[in-house]
Amino acid sequence: MKPLRYLLFLLPLISFSQDRVSGIVMEANAENTTTGLAGANVYWLDTTIGVVTDIEGRFSIPYTSENKKLVISYVGFKTDTLTISQPKTIRHWLESKGDLATVTLTSRKQTTTKSYLHAANTFTVGSEELLKAACCNLSESFETNPSIDVNFADAVTGTRQIKMLGLTSPYILIATENIPSIRGASQAFGMSFIPGTWIESIQITKGAGSVVNGFESIAGQINAELVKPLTDNKVYINAYANANGRLELNTHLNTPISDKWSTGLYMHGNLRDAKHDNNNDSFLDMPLQEQVSVMNRWQYIDTEKGFVTFLNLNVLNDEKQTGQVNFNSKTDKGTTNAWGSEIDTRRYEISTKFGYINPEIPWQSIGVQAAYSNHKQESYYGLNLYHIKQNSLYTNAIYNSIISDSRHKIKTGMSFTYDHYDELVNTTDYERTERSVGGFFEYNFDNLEKLNLTAGLRIDNHNLWGTFVTPRFHARYTPWGKSALRASFGRGKRSANIFAENQSVFSTSRLLNILNSDGEIYGLNPEIAWNYGISFLQGFNLFKRKADITVDFYRTDFENQVVVDFENPQEVNFYNLEGDSYANSFQIEMNYNVFEHFDLRLAYKYYDVKTQYQSEKLERPLTPKNRFFANAAYETHMNDNDTGQWRFDVTFNWLGKQRFSSTVTSPLAFQLPEYTPSVTTLNAQITKVFSPKFEVYFGGENMTNTKQDNPILGANNPFGSNFDTTFVYGPIFGASYYAGLRFKIK
């Protein structure tokens, strides 16, 4: 029987052998055994005459004397061209390109990446960039980034606020994994509730963001992407100690449960129990703090069916005590024995994401996000009492598809948000519920040519503001190679949570006044602003080394704003804007790879931020007009076995003079000059990598030991009428040094 089968195979060969070239295409291997390649292309060069090999790798192609070159190709294999001068039978081995695919790229990944292609001015800060400064939490992770200003810690709570385009963080939509997370009650301290090690990357969009994430963003959007159980280290430990008495411990434990499920447990604890008063003003330079935060993440991935799911649970407990050094909360709370403050926050969060990508049609996907949080802050500042509770629900469903072809992408969906606030300010109760339901549509045009644009529109109905429209628009144009010219405009709207966002006013003897009373939120109207921006990015080579330069200009125009007026030193007045309020921001930034492993980043920024106050139109207080920034990063060459590397980072910041809000009506002893002096700070860090598992870092913050002389006005009489802690423009604590270690098991 067997010989018969061979005979059958031979038959066709014999019958065609006169006018055909036939044979077998095989996969090359060391032994040159016969492993046929099915579906390989065999064709005569420069013709359309071709065949595909059968399941055993066999083919047969007509032969004519004009054709001499036979091309054999197969996806993933090297293409071969054979010279054929007569009809014959061929046995040919094709070599795999597989070795090409496994070549590891040794070039260094840029730690901050800017896209030349996206319509929006978005850049991504990678985890490597975050390691440049031992950023303990999200609010401290922008120190090496010139686009975002990190304000000096406020004199009482030790909290850092960030600014973008000259506007403080309430005007920036801050999201974790695209779910708006730091808003409302958590606005003031929320950034310090996201530990640095939990952050995988940060996307920063300047100017109007996408309509998909809601209507609230005005100056920009910041999205923190958290580490994922599937891709994070199995075990990760980061321990940190600061000379100012701060201790931190982060541990990550990740484990796969099945081939589709994985889970991670992330724990963060920080403690500062040492009292410091370097400037002898009887006040702690930074608060005593205890924070514990635990997050449990579940991740489900089924690539075959196209399902992705995340489930997050997070519990946080944060306690701060600050004020005078001799303040004892047990005996002095609510008295004038000593001035002190306690801020206790408890927060529960549950969020889930569900995504489905049609495996058959890759452009079709559905995503649903839902998050619920319960935030409770109980606090007092001297004799001022402040409690806030927020229950928040966020849901968003997004459908992605295309119109006719992949050059026309669309995103559409619905969102619903619910926020219930319950606030107690001394003896006044404020309670409100905000509900909004909205639909959005975003169109993206990208024909792979010079122009790319995104146009989005959303319509929302809000229980307090009625129905309104939010348009957002982004365009990118590439006039020549390695460049991107961008333009954007958009509208944003938000409620000002005047007390939550301005908690520093409680650490003053100022009277709090809300001047309007016909609005819906504390008697005030919602804030509305338009943002317009242009930017230009150009990549080039300087002395054969990569460089890029970005120039951008943004303007934010307030249609309505809740003005926080500090111009009378005895009062803080909140009122609806009457007249002009705008923020102009100009920035020029250059990145240059000076030589191998040495990167330099230089930036200059100019702000013109003015608001019409009741008294007159004035520069926004404590906002420097000029800022200069420089960051240098150098690392030694990594050995072949990934050991023994050194990394060095230095960041320099210079801030020009900043306007103090007016103190002319104060007694002479409590008057401040019109402007602050300029401030210079220098941070540096050294990291030594011992092995892929273990590294140690040392660093210094504010190494020039710059200190603000008199951060608290009336510190010797905190219950008197001139006590004020809001005039902070520079570091309070001088130089500070830290050390830490990272241990990881992949």
């Binding site: 996806v75 390109k97 890759p362 295309i402 992949s406 024909n447 792979l448």
Partner: protein, 121 residues
């Protein structure tokens, strides 16, 4: 009888696929760099009925999703050839090939060699 049934079923299968508005295909297209990639993908997308086109610089594989009621592989291949790229079915006419950027001359072994290390542009 069984064979006839299978054959009939296969026929039905083909007929339904002939009307598939999201038909998938993978063909080999010659090219060397990211400029080629954008040229190839653009040509496909501007061809009526093509919904998605992704070309891989390394493997030369072009993954297509197209509406079979509006177009077929031959039309798409011709379109690709008309911008200067060879597919196994259709060879680009010389004038189209000559019009492409000199760094994209994939038929030239020197150019191919230059692109080999960089794995694209």
């Amino acid at each position: 009888m069984k064979k006839i049934m299978i054959f009939a079923l296969m026929l039905i299968g083909t007929t339904t696929f002939a009307q598939n508005k999201n038909a998938k295909a993978s063909i080999e297209v010659d090219g060397v760099c990211m400029m080629c990639k954008s040229r190839i993908e653009k040509a496909c997308l501007s061809s009526k009925g093509v919904k998605s086109a992704v070309w891989n610089v390394k493997t030369h594989e072009l993954q297509l999703i197209y509406d079979e009621r509006k177009t077929d592989l031959e039309t798409i291949s011709k379109k690709i050839a008309s911008v200067g790229h060879d597919t196994k079915a259709v060879k680009a006419p010389d004038e189209a090939y000559n019009a492409i950027h000199s760094c994209c001359k994939y038929r030239d072994e020197v150019v191919v060699e230059e692109h080999k290390d960089s794995g694209g542009k």
